[in-house]
Symmetry: C2
Subunit: 129 residues, 2 copies
Protein backbone atom coordinates (compact mmCIF):
# COMPACT_ATOMS: atom_id res chain seq x y z
CA UNK A 1 0.00 0.00 0.00
CA UNK A 2 1.18 3.52 -0.74
CA UNK A 3 0.73 6.29 1.77
CA UNK A 4 -2.47 7.55 0.15
CA UNK A 5 -4.19 4.23 0.63
CA UNK A 6 -3.22 3.83 4.32
CA UNK A 7 -4.22 7.40 4.82
CA UNK A 8 -7.69 6.63 3.52
CA UNK A 9 -8.02 3.39 5.45
CA UNK A 10 -6.82 4.77 8.78
CA UNK A 11 -8.37 8.17 8.19
CA UNK A 12 -5.10 9.91 9.00
CA UNK A 13 -3.71 12.64 6.77
CA UNK A 14 -0.58 11.57 4.89
CA UNK A 15 1.27 14.60 6.18
CA UNK A 16 0.57 13.35 9.65
CA UNK A 17 1.69 9.84 8.81
CA UNK A 18 5.07 11.18 7.68
CA UNK A 19 5.22 13.29 10.80
CA UNK A 20 4.45 10.35 13.10
CA UNK A 21 7.27 8.51 11.36
CA UNK A 22 9.70 11.36 11.85
CA UNK A 23 8.76 11.56 15.53
CA UNK A 24 9.39 7.84 15.94
CA UNK A 25 5.77 7.14 16.85
CA UNK A 26 5.50 4.66 14.02
CA UNK A 27 8.48 2.76 12.57
CA UNK A 28 10.13 3.99 9.39
CA UNK A 29 8.23 2.59 6.45
CA UNK A 30 10.03 0.39 3.97
CA UNK A 31 10.40 2.00 0.57
CA UNK A 32 9.68 0.92 -2.99
CA UNK A 33 12.48 1.19 -5.54
CA UNK A 34 11.27 4.65 -6.39
CA UNK A 35 11.35 5.69 -2.76
CA UNK A 36 7.61 5.44 -2.06
CA UNK A 37 6.66 4.41 1.48
CA UNK A 38 5.10 0.92 1.59
CA UNK A 39 2.53 -0.12 4.18
CA UNK A 40 0.59 -3.17 5.28
CA UNK A 41 -2.70 -3.81 7.05
CA UNK A 42 -0.85 -3.80 10.33
CA UNK A 43 0.28 -0.23 9.75
CA UNK A 44 -3.36 0.75 9.32
CA UNK A 45 -3.99 -0.84 12.69
CA UNK A 46 -1.22 1.16 14.37
CA UNK A 47 -2.33 4.40 12.76
CA UNK A 48 -5.85 3.88 13.99
CA UNK A 49 -4.49 3.43 17.48
CA UNK A 50 -2.56 6.68 17.16
CA UNK A 51 -5.63 8.42 15.83
CA UNK A 52 -7.79 7.30 18.74
CA UNK A 53 -5.14 8.35 21.22
CA UNK A 54 -5.09 11.79 19.59
CA UNK A 55 -8.86 11.94 19.85
CA UNK A 56 -8.49 11.43 23.56
CA UNK A 57 -6.13 14.37 23.65
CA UNK A 58 -2.89 12.58 24.39
CA UNK A 59 0.29 14.41 23.42
CA UNK A 60 2.68 13.06 20.82
CA UNK A 61 5.11 12.16 23.58
CA UNK A 62 2.47 10.19 25.44
CA UNK A 63 1.36 8.51 22.25
CA UNK A 64 4.88 7.43 21.48
CA UNK A 65 5.02 5.71 24.85
CA UNK A 66 1.53 4.30 24.54
CA UNK A 67 2.27 2.74 21.15
CA UNK A 68 5.42 1.26 22.53
CA UNK A 69 3.58 -0.21 25.52
CA UNK A 70 0.80 -1.40 23.27
CA UNK A 71 3.30 -3.38 21.21
CA UNK A 72 5.12 -4.75 24.23
CA UNK A 73 3.17 -7.77 25.35
CA UNK A 74 5.06 -7.81 28.65
CA UNK A 75 4.20 -4.27 29.69
CA UNK A 76 3.06 -3.63 33.24
CA UNK A 77 -0.40 -2.06 32.98
CA UNK A 78 0.67 0.30 35.76
CA UNK A 79 2.77 2.23 33.26
CA UNK A 80 -0.16 2.73 30.97
CA UNK A 81 -2.40 3.72 33.82
CA UNK A 82 0.14 6.26 35.02
CA UNK A 83 0.25 7.98 31.65
CA UNK A 84 -3.52 8.03 31.41
CA UNK A 85 -3.94 9.31 34.94
CA UNK A 86 -1.52 12.14 34.39
CA UNK A 87 -3.40 13.06 31.25
CA UNK A 88 -6.70 13.03 33.08
CA UNK A 89 -5.31 15.48 35.61
CA UNK A 90 -4.21 17.83 32.85
CA UNK A 91 -7.58 17.61 31.15
CA UNK A 92 -9.32 18.31 34.43
CA UNK A 93 -7.16 21.37 34.92
CA UNK A 94 -8.02 22.68 31.48
CA UNK A 95 -11.66 21.89 32.05
CA UNK A 96 -11.65 23.86 35.28
CA UNK A 97 -9.91 26.83 33.68
CA UNK A 98 -12.46 26.89 30.89
CA UNK A 99 -15.29 26.57 33.38
CA UNK A 100 -13.96 29.59 35.29
CA UNK A 101 -13.71 31.64 32.11
CA UNK A 102 -17.23 30.67 31.10
CA UNK A 103 -18.57 31.59 34.51
CA UNK A 104 -17.19 35.11 34.24
CA UNK A 105 -17.99 35.56 30.57
CA UNK A 106 -21.55 34.35 30.83
CA UNK A 107 -22.24 36.79 33.66
CA UNK A 108 -20.78 39.67 31.69
CA UNK A 109 -22.57 38.80 28.47
CA UNK A 110 -25.85 38.41 30.31
CA UNK A 111 -25.61 41.91 31.71
CA UNK A 112 -24.68 43.56 28.41
CA UNK A 113 -27.55 45.00 26.40
CA UNK A 114 -25.78 44.50 23.09
CA UNK A 115 -27.32 47.47 21.34
CA UNK A 116 -26.09 50.67 19.68
CA UNK A 117 -25.15 52.35 22.94
CA UNK A 118 -21.62 52.38 24.30
CA UNK A 119 -22.35 51.25 27.86
CA UNK A 120 -20.78 47.83 28.15
CA UNK A 121 -20.46 45.72 31.28
CA UNK A 122 -18.23 43.33 29.35
CA UNK A 123 -15.55 45.95 28.74
CA UNK A 124 -16.02 47.23 32.28
CA UNK A 125 -15.59 43.70 33.56
CA UNK A 126 -12.41 43.12 31.62
CA UNK A 127 -11.07 46.53 32.58
CA UNK A 128 -11.62 46.29 36.31
CA UNK A 129 -11.64 42.61 37.07
Amino acid sequence: MNIGEVSKQADVNSKMIRRYESLGIIPKATRSEAGYRQYTENDVHVLKFVKHAREMGFSMKDIKQLVSLWKNKNRPSAQVKSIATKHILELEKKRDEIAAMLLTLNQLVKSCKGDNRPECPILDGIGCH
Copy 2:
Protein backbone atom coordinates in the same frame (compact mmCIF):
# COMPACT_ATOMS: atom_id res chain seq x y z
CA MET B 1 8.74 54.48 32.91
CA ASN B 2 10.91 51.91 31.18
CA ILE B 3 9.50 48.59 30.04
CA GLY B 4 10.70 46.80 33.18
CA GLU B 5 8.69 49.05 35.42
CA VAL B 6 5.41 48.77 33.45
CA SER B 7 6.01 45.07 33.27
CA LYS B 8 6.12 44.93 37.05
CA GLN B 9 3.13 47.20 37.54
CA ALA B 10 0.88 45.50 35.01
CA ASP B 11 2.27 42.06 35.76
CA VAL B 12 2.89 41.42 32.09
CA ASN B 13 6.22 40.03 30.87
CA SER B 14 8.25 42.59 28.89
CA LYS B 15 8.60 40.15 26.05
CA MET B 16 4.85 40.10 25.82
CA ILE B 17 4.62 43.88 25.96
CA ARG B 18 6.88 44.14 22.94
CA ARG B 19 4.84 41.47 21.24
CA TYR B 20 1.54 43.25 21.92
CA GLU B 21 3.10 46.34 20.42
CA SER B 22 4.24 44.48 17.31
CA LEU B 23 0.74 43.03 16.91
CA GLY B 24 -0.82 46.47 17.14
CA ILE B 25 -2.72 45.59 20.31
CA ILE B 26 -1.09 48.49 22.12
CA PRO B 27 0.23 51.62 20.37
CA LYS B 28 3.93 51.94 19.60
CA ALA B 29 5.68 53.31 22.66
CA THR B 30 7.57 56.56 22.37
CA ARG B 31 11.32 56.14 22.75
CA SER B 32 14.01 57.77 24.83
CA GLU B 33 17.06 59.14 23.06
CA ALA B 34 18.79 55.83 23.55
CA GLY B 35 15.85 53.98 22.02
CA TYR B 36 14.27 52.74 25.27
CA ARG B 37 10.48 52.43 25.24
CA GLN B 38 8.78 54.99 27.51
CA TYR B 39 5.48 54.35 29.27
CA THR B 40 2.94 56.14 31.44
CA GLU B 41 0.35 55.10 34.02
CA ASN B 42 -2.20 54.86 31.25
CA ASP B 43 -0.16 52.19 29.51
CA VAL B 44 -0.26 50.16 32.70
CA HIS B 45 -4.03 50.46 32.58
CA VAL B 46 -4.20 49.21 29.00
CA LEU B 47 -1.83 46.33 29.71
CA LYS B 48 -3.95 45.24 32.64
CA PHE B 49 -6.97 45.20 30.35
CA VAL B 50 -5.07 43.03 27.89
CA LYS B 51 -3.97 40.75 30.68
CA HIS B 52 -7.48 40.21 31.95
CA ALA B 53 -8.75 39.55 28.47
CA ARG B 54 -6.04 36.89 28.09
CA GLU B 55 -7.08 35.37 31.39
CA MET B 56 -10.56 34.97 29.94
CA GLY B 57 -9.03 33.13 27.03
CA PHE B 58 -9.60 35.70 24.28
CA SER B 59 -7.32 35.39 21.24
CA MET B 60 -4.90 38.15 20.31
CA LYS B 61 -7.15 39.08 17.39
CA ASP B 62 -10.15 39.43 19.67
CA ILE B 63 -8.13 41.40 22.18
CA LYS B 64 -6.99 43.80 19.51
CA GLN B 65 -10.62 44.52 18.70
CA LEU B 66 -11.65 44.64 22.34
CA VAL B 67 -8.98 47.18 23.20
CA SER B 68 -10.03 49.28 20.25
CA LEU B 69 -13.69 49.15 21.30
CA TRP B 70 -12.72 49.85 24.89
CA LYS B 71 -10.97 53.03 23.80
CA ASN B 72 -13.77 54.11 21.49
CA LYS B 73 -16.33 55.84 23.65
CA ASN B 74 -18.91 55.66 20.84
CA ARG B 75 -18.76 51.90 20.38
CA PRO B 76 -22.00 49.98 20.08
CA SER B 77 -21.99 47.42 22.90
CA ALA B 78 -23.44 44.96 20.40
CA GLN B 79 -20.01 44.62 18.83
CA VAL B 80 -18.42 43.75 22.13
CA LYS B 81 -21.17 41.32 22.96
CA SER B 82 -20.76 39.63 19.60
CA ILE B 83 -17.06 38.99 20.18
CA ALA B 84 -17.71 37.69 23.68
CA THR B 85 -20.55 35.45 22.55
CA LYS B 86 -18.48 33.91 19.80
CA HIS B 87 -15.74 33.26 22.32
CA ILE B 88 -18.17 31.63 24.71
CA LEU B 89 -19.27 29.26 21.97
CA GLU B 90 -15.67 28.27 21.30
CA LEU B 91 -15.01 27.71 24.99
CA GLU B 92 -18.13 25.61 25.28
CA LYS B 93 -16.99 23.53 22.36
CA LYS B 94 -13.62 22.93 23.96
CA ARG B 95 -15.26 22.19 27.28
CA ASP B 96 -17.50 19.59 25.65
CA GLU B 97 -14.59 17.98 23.85
CA ILE B 98 -12.64 17.73 27.08
CA ALA B 99 -15.67 16.36 28.89
CA ALA B 100 -16.02 13.65 26.26
CA MET B 101 -12.36 12.72 26.57
CA LEU B 102 -12.62 12.59 30.34
CA LEU B 103 -15.69 10.40 30.18
CA THR B 104 -13.88 7.81 28.08
CA LEU B 105 -10.59 8.04 29.93
CA ASN B 106 -12.09 7.80 33.38
CA GLN B 107 -13.94 4.65 32.42
CA LEU B 108 -10.80 3.08 30.99
CA VAL B 109 -8.61 4.06 33.92
CA LYS B 110 -11.17 2.78 36.37
CA SER B 111 -11.16 -0.66 34.77
CA CYS B 112 -7.37 -0.94 34.59
CA LYS B 113 -5.72 -2.75 37.46
CA GLY B 114 -2.48 -0.82 37.11
CA ASP B 115 -0.21 -3.59 38.29
CA ASN B 116 2.68 -5.58 36.88
CA ARG B 117 0.57 -7.60 34.52
CA PRO B 118 0.15 -6.73 30.86
CA GLU B 119 -3.65 -6.89 30.61
CA CYS B 120 -4.73 -3.33 30.01
CA PRO B 121 -8.25 -2.13 29.24
CA ILE B 122 -6.82 1.31 28.49
CA LEU B 123 -4.71 0.09 25.59
CA ASP B 124 -7.58 -2.13 24.48
CA GLY B 125 -9.88 0.85 24.61
CA ILE B 126 -7.60 3.02 22.53
CA GLY B 127 -6.96 0.20 20.09
CA CYS B 128 -10.58 -0.75 19.45
CA HIS B 129 -12.52 2.38 20.23
